[in-house]
Symmetry: C2
Subunit: 90 residues, 2 copies
C-alpha cells in the first residue's frame, strides 16, 4: 500500500466513523423522527455513485469507504422506515 | 471532462446535497442539540483528508466535492457551537 492509499484509507475511517453514532442513536432510541428518508435516499444514491466511480478509477480507498458508508446508511434507512411505520409516521 | 469525471461530479452533487437540509434546519430552528460536536470534528477531519487525497491523486471530483462538504460542515460546526453556547450547553 502506497502513501496515497494510506491517506485515503485514514480519510475513509474518519468519515465512516462519523456515521456510526447516528445509527447507534437511532437503534437505541428506536426513534427516526430526526431523519429525512428523502435525504437518506439522496445520500445513498450519491455514495453508490462514488462506489461506481471508485471501480472506474480502480481506487481501493474510495471503493472500500463508500461500500462501508452505503451499508451503514442502508441499515439506517431500514431502521428509520421500520420505526416510522411503527409510529404511524409512514 | 471525461465519463469518469462526470460520474464523480454527479456523485459529489448528490452527497453534497444531502448535507444541506441539516444545515438549513439547524440555522432555521437555532437548535444544535441533535448535533455531536465531536462527531462533526471527526467528519471534518476525514473530509479534509479526502481533499488532501484528491490533491495527491489530482482528482477534480474528489477535491471539489470534499471542499464543498468541508465548507458546509465547518458552517454547521460554527452555528452548532454558537447555539450551544447561547443555551449554556457549552
Amino acid at each position: 500500500m502506497n502513501y496515497n492509499e494510506i491517506i485515503g484509507i485514514i480519510a475513509g475511517v474518519f468519515t465512516a466513523a462519523s456515521l456510526l453514532p447516528q445509527l447507534i442513536k437511532t437503534i437505541k432510541e428506536k426513534d427516526a423522527s430526526g431523519i429525512s428518508t428523502v435525504m437518506l435516499l439522496v445520500l445513498i444514491t450519491g455514495i453508490s455513485l462514488w462506489v461506481y466511480y471508485g471501480f472506474l478509477k480502480k481506487d481501493i480507498p474510495i471503493i472500500a469507504t463508500n461500500i462501508f458508508s452505503d451499508l451503514v446508511n442502508l441499515t439506517l434507512l431500514f431502521f428509520s422506515i421500520k420505526y416510522k411505520k411503527e409510529k404511524g409516521d409512514m
